[in-house]
């Protein structure tokens, strides 16, 4: 780790001001950033910790009945809420207890790791990512591998999830890291079905349009038979080839649909 300054603002306004100084980088739960610093792969001059800001923490139902999760809320608290059980289940199975107690939803979404769980929930639920300056629809937010629509210095403040009729997340775990080798989030709303896939694509989390269409007509695992993704553009590494991940996406989607009941 290289030497850096640490600021711990207690208000959002102070955090925004602290981040405006060029070399500064926001720090939330630090579950990715701290290991990166330890490996000396990043050398920010200043870290601005967001976890001491009260207004960024906590879970509530907003006026529209959406589940609004403060960006600095750790996974354990999301796992403990019962308004959106599929989201609770997802949060309860991220990483290990240390990760779940330190890691935050805002940090995960800002990092947009292609194998992280939360991007699947946000995209699969059609969530709204609220920042200090605007509201971004999940469909516009995830722009690629470790890439998002966030501007320099922009801070996620809250994530609003419309609560579906039924939903489930099925993850095939990479057992060492507990990241998703492939994870599929399926949610059924009055307007239709959303299927979001993490861990599989080189472009990061994506929606599987054909599966959504099939499930909108018939929300059952059988409705997916015959549907298959192409291995091209899928992540290929020592854990599995692109074709393997494409196949696994189909399997996990069926499991998610079955679990959603």
């Amino acid at each position: 780790m290289y030497a850096f300054e640490l600021e711990r603002p207690s208000t959002l306004a102070d955090a925004v001001a602290a981040l405006s100084g060029g070399e500064a980088q926001p720090l939330s739960g630090g579950q990715t950033l701290i290991p990166t610093l330890k490996q000396r792969l990043a050398s920010p001059g200043k870290l601005v910790s967001l976890t001491g800001i009260k207004e960024l923490r906590g879970i509530r139902l907003d006026d529209a009945g959406q589940l609004a999760v403060g960006a600095a809320t750790p996974h354990v608290q999301v796992a403990a809420q019962d308004h959106y059980p599929a989201l609770a289940h997802l949060a309860a199975n991220i990483g290990d207890p240390a990760v779940r107690n330190r890691g935050t939803i805002g940090g995960s979404l800002a990092n947009n790791d292609p194998s992280a769980c939360y991007p699947a929930a946000a995209l699969g639920s059609g969530a709204t990512i609220v920042t200090n300056t605007r509201e971004i629809k999940a469909d516009d937010y995830f722009t690629g591998l470790f890439d998002t629509a966030l501007e320099e210095g922009e801070i996620i403040t809250e994530v609003r999830f419309p609560v579906p009729r039924r939903a489930a997340y099925a993850k095939f775990e990479q057992p060492a890291s507990r990241f998703a080798l492939v994870g599929v989030f399926v949610a059924q709303y009055a307007q239709g079905v959303r299927v979001a896939v993490t861990g599989a694509s080189e472009g990061g989390v994506f929606r599987w349009a054909e599966a959504e269409k099939a499930l909108a007509a018939d929300f059952s695992a059988d409705a997916l038979s015959g549907l298959a993704l192409d291995g091209a553009g899928m992540i290929a590494d020592l854990h599995g080839s692109g074709a393997y991940r494409a196949h696994l996406t189909g399997v996990m989607t069926r499991r998610a649909v079955a679990a959603a009941g």
């Binding site: 780790m1 290289y2 030497a3 490996q39 000396r40």
Partner: protein, 604 residues
Amino acid sequence: MPADGGIGAATKRREDVRFLTGTGNYTDDINMRGQAYVHFLRSDVAHGRIKGIDTAEAAAMPGVIRIFTGADFEGVGSIPCGWQVTDRHGQPMQEPAHPVLAQGKVRHVGDPIAAVVAESRAEARDAAEAIAVDIEELPAVVDMKAALDDGAPKVHDDLTSNLCYDWGFVEDNREAVDAAIKGAAHVTTLELVNQRLVANAMEPRVALGDYNRASDDSTLYTTSQNPHVIRLLMGAFVLGIPEHKLRVVSPDVGGGFGSKIFHYAEEAFVTFAAKALNRPVKWTASRSEAFISDAQGRDHVTKIELALDADNNFVAIRTATLANMGAYLSTFAPSVPTYLHGTLMAGNYKTPNIYVNVKAVFTNTVPVDAYRGAGRPEASFQIERVIDKAARELGVDPIALRRQNFVTEFPYATPVAVEYDTGDYVATMDKLEEIADIKGFAARRAASEKRGMLRGFGVNCYIEACGIAPSALVGQLGARAGLYESATVRVNATGGITVMTGSHSHGQGHETSFAQVVAEMIGIDANMVEIVHGDTAKVPMGMGTYGSRSLAVGGSAMVRATEKIINKARKIAAHLMEASEADIELKDGKFSVAGTDKSVAWGT
């Protein structure tokens, strides 16, 4: 039997109290007043010529005490190899120098180029990044076959080639084996890769050097499976420190799997630097560093041929193995593919003709040495796999083929230099078939298939030479030190026993199990016995823990020492009870005079 059950009694491990409550004492837990920290700048190329090292900027950075390079180690010895293999032409293996810090060339990713000693770990690491090393990258060889090609880049310029040795075992068998294979009814051939792996003990390696200027004593605290061996290798061959001026301490050790047997450059460095700077110097490996500085395991490529006669009797085995040594010879590296491997090549089978050829090869990779079983699993893997393949080719049952060829008469002298004294492989296989319910397998497979599942079945036999002893034998085979073990059993005034053993636990739980052995011999509870190990100042001599030798060799020394104690105690008991020594019986910790009610208890 002692009241607590003695040998093998289920008990809680006494060492777990400290391990489970975070009060273990690992090498990294030791910190000394005035301690400085070293960070090694390591090569990021596999092969290169060092044209210059500029440390000026780094030396001026905050906290930097001194920067060492290879030039500081001229006149210091080479990291030694503890085993010399003689090739099939009677020539000794090619043995390259292994400097503490690279001199002239780097030969693998991770080869240390410079060492920064600073007031803190972070300052040492910061300064190491500021060192400018001018390296001319050279073509590297990482593939063993390519390394043996004419004109291949040489890992060591002063050796004739990248071939460390060409070993034949038993060389006199070669012609008979060739002839048997030529005349065989069937020959099954198999090529196998036993891939390289990283040992990855839970505790990374740590070394802390300390020096006492008043007494000229050096102390090395290190994560080792055998502190006495480190004292011998480092003291005698690298730094020139006699045993009485060098203490090596290995406190709690968090796993080794073999990788903590060997003497490493970092140990010599911290001991050397502590004296040069008159300050304790500490190094703690990061996990990433462990991947490029700990000796790795396996890395064999083998072709094995199994010849059978028309009745499916094994008539010959011939193997040709390439064994990767990496860039330098680690402490026991040459012994692993040879004597720890070739001697096991008969397996459990009476094959009359066996010839093993091993070519050990230098490559631009991290050194390879003993890892879990070391050479013996590699041998078993080859034999058992080729038998399975032969069974498939011949359309016979793999268990029946094994049974037909089992050694059944003992003692049995194998064609690969070892004698099996006893064994009953047929009875073992009978038992295996019973507990695995082989007869029911077909039905289980059918049931699985009905559910759309696959069910497989595999069988493997294994015989292993454990212990790596005695000294006379291993000396004949090339070991440069005797592989004996020592034990001192001390009876304290009130009957408690302190056992000093040269074996050392790196997770095995010797403090519990060894205490049971001594306690049962006397008939007292194990809590009367304390096991002391891991410190050359407390234990007079030792050879350490590896090759499944702790109980077989270290335990035997302990038993012999305890027998001497019992015999001496018997004399004292006879004297106390005014009886003849021949009439004294020891039972349950009590000496009594046969046929009387006279007795004295242990410790009175």
